[in-house]
């Protein structure tokens, strides 16, 4: 007696359809699972059995052989419980075959037959859709992310009985009012809360326009974290395709982030500075998970106390910063995750944190001060366009009741500026000012004449290096987009220089 249905095996974001075959033969009761299962999958035997019995179905006291084909592909996770249970029932004739052929099943079973959520449902569905599957049964807990795939018919189920009812009668329970277990999208971070800091505010705005990476240097309590947290609020909303990309990566992540899969707000990821390299870029031996830089895809990666990061952790970001994606190779295979993010580093000016402005109260030696920011390696700093010093607030600025523009106002300016840039780069392979290649800056995207001659005097005075020149020009383009100048003016260049020279680095 044979039964068959479809499951899916994920490696990174790529999935491969797995045919789950069950044979029930006469012989002593036994259960054999073939097809390179991992531990969680091997344990499925006992879950499936209890779930079936406790849902009022029959467990065949016969020799059961389950094969997950293709057999050479290593399979992991508990998402195969449901397809195994369905194939088993189909093998002893409990299910009409009609709906089985083109339906994907994902879900873990609990002993009482409830269907539990699993990781990676969205990427699984995307992969299955590419293979021509249009109907999928998913756990109710993963319903929100599953319904992003509007091209597919999604049947979300809370219990094995609901699956069987759908397979036998074609009726599915629609639990329309699903409570929202996610935090509201607007977390209450608004730029109008930030007192003073005109420089840093402008830098954040420019960073949002051009996708420039940003370094904030300042004493504790000056507002570095506040500014970073508010950046996602002024970034343009994600398009549907981008939401799919972002939610697919987040779906794979082990961490219980409370980000709704439907959210179109750019993600904000702030790993602690003790994060390991693997936590930052992704990895793992049995399943390769996305790291912080992939979770920040299309959003902001904020690293507070950047000089305190472990050796090599920040430098591991160099490659994704350059490529916009990261490929991780392990013994089980190679996986590529997207990683296009705006990097924001925050740092104290010295170990004690007080070496700013006139440096009053700083107890560090000059050598310590120099070494501290020197921990941020040259190649990394080379990729960071904006460097701004965040000064401690004066009493006057703190008690002022009128703060700067709200996030909504800034977001509007940013989105206007981005559409100007998008129009300009219509026929180019890049879309953001931070991505303009140096050659194009020399030839095609040049500044006003007066601005160029000003830059030349700066170069002659050795206040600007060749590399710095291009960075200043990129920032100037973002400033020009914000001010709706057709090309960067002398004023834009001057401002750009200020946003770059913030630190002595």
């Amino acid at each position: 007696m044979l039964g068959q249905c479809l499951g899916i095996a994920l490696l990174g974001l790529d999935g491969q359809l797995v045919s789950v075959e069950v044979d029930i033969a006469d012989g002593l009761p036994g259960y054999t699972l073939l097809g390179l299962p991992d531990t969680a999958l091997t344990e499925s035997k006992d879950r499936v059995r209890s779930a079936l019995v406790n849902s009022g179905e029959i467990w065949p006291n016969k020799k059961v052989t389950v094969s997950l084909s293709p057999a050479w592909l290593p399979k992991s996770g508990s998402g195969f419980d449901l397809p195994i249970a369905i194939a088993l029932l189909s093998a002893h004739g409990g299910i009409p075959e009609g709906r089985l052929n083109k339906t994907l099943f994902i879900g873990e079973l609990s002993l009482d037959g409830r269907v539990q959520g699993v990781r990676g449902v969205l990427p699984s569905l995307i992969a299955a859709y590419k293979c021509g599957i249009t109907v999928a049964v998913v756990p109710l807990a993963n319903r929100l992310e599953a319904e992003l795939m509007t091209e597919m018919k999604i049947i979300s189920v809370g219990h094995l009985r609901e699956v069987l009812m759908w397979l036998r009668t074609g009726e599915s329970l629609r639990n329309e009012n699903l409570e929202c277990e996610y935090a509201p999208e607007d977390e209450g971070f608004d730029f109008s809360d930030v007192a003073g800091q005109p420089h840093a505010r402008l830098a954040a705005e420019v960073s949002a326009v051009g996708g420039h990476h940003l370094l904030l240097i300042g004493p504790p309590g000056a507002g570095k974290t506040m500014i970073a947290q508010r950046l996602p609020g002024i970034l343009p909303r994600l398009s549907r395709a981008e939401v799919l990309e972002v939610s697919a990566v987040h779906s794979l992540s082990r961490s219980h982030n409370n980000r709704s899969p439907l959210s179109s707000v750019a993600p904000f990821v702030a790993p602690h500075h003790t994060a390991t390299r693997v936590a930052m870029v992704g990895g793992g031996s049995s399943t390769i998970r996305p790291g912080a830089c992939s979770l920040a895809h299309r959003g902001v990666l904020f690293i507070d106390e950047a000089p305190e990061c472990g050796a090599g952790v920040l430098d591991a970001l160099r490659q994704p910063l350059e490529a916009g994606s990261i490929s991780i190779a392990r013994s089980i295979g190679s996986v590529s995750y997207p990683a296009q993010f705006i990097l924001i580093l925050a740092a104290n000016p010295c170990p004690c944190g007080k070496f700013s402005g006139r440096g009053r109260g700083c107890t560090c030696s000059s050598l310590q001060v120099r070494r501290y920011l020197g921990k941020l390696s040259g190649p990394l700093m080379d990729r960071i366009d904006l460097r701004v010093e965040v000064e401690p607030l004066s009493r006057l600025e703190l008690v002022k009741s009128e703060y700067g523009d709200s996030s909504a106002t800034i977001a509007e300016r940013v989105s206007k500026a981005r559409s100007v840039a998008a129009h300009r780069f219509n026929h180019e392979p890049w879309s953001l000012n931070a991505q303009i290649p140096s050659r194009a800056l020399q030839k095609k995207y040049v500044c006003e004449k007066s601005a160029i001659s000003f830059l030349h005097t700066e170069l002659d005075a050795e206040r600007l290096t060749g590399r710095g020149l291009h960075k200043v020009m990129r920032i100037a383009w973002s400033l020009a987009d914000l001010a709706l100048h057709p090309i960067p003016t002398l004023g834009d260049i001057r401002t750009a220089l200020r946003l770059r020279e913030g630190s002595t680095l």
Partner: protein, 126 residues
């Protein structure tokens, strides 16, 4: 056999009753009974039968009054089945039938509260 239900049988008698039920079942299918409760130091074979074709069947019988402790077949572990296979080979050797075709069979006897005995018979479980 309604007394089986009323009187609380000892496990031994219950087993003997179950084995007798299987013997009747086999005889009803024109299978000869060659030996019963054949015992050596390594263990015991409940029933040794022979088909008309000449094929021997070594039968392990499990008797239960309810499914509270699982299906009778589940009580036959893989290890037990292999032991049965070794015993079969020993029996064949002793009785100068080594090389004859044979199967290891299992029979489950389920006695309902009304005393009805239900036999489930599975051939060649190994």
């Amino acid at each position: 056999m309604s007394e089986a239900a009323r009187i609380k049988l000892s496990n031994k008698t219950l087993g003997a009753f179950g084995e007798q039920t299987v013997v009747d079942y086999l005889l009803g299918r024109h299978i000869l009974i060659v030996d019963r409760n054949w015992r050596i130091r390594e263990g015991e074979v409940d029933i040794i039968a022979q088909h008309l074709s000449g094929r021997y069947a070594f039968v392990e019988v499990k008797t239960r009054r309810s499914l509270a402790f699982g299906h009778p077949f589940e009580a036959i572990s893989r290890e037990k089945a292999y032991r049965l296979q070794r015993l079969s080979l020993a029996w064949l050797a002793i009785n100068h039938a080594f090389g004859e075709p044979f199967t290891i069979d299992c029979a489950a006897v389920l006695i309902s509260p009304t005393g009805q005995a239900n036999v489930e018979y599975r051939e060649a479980v190994l």
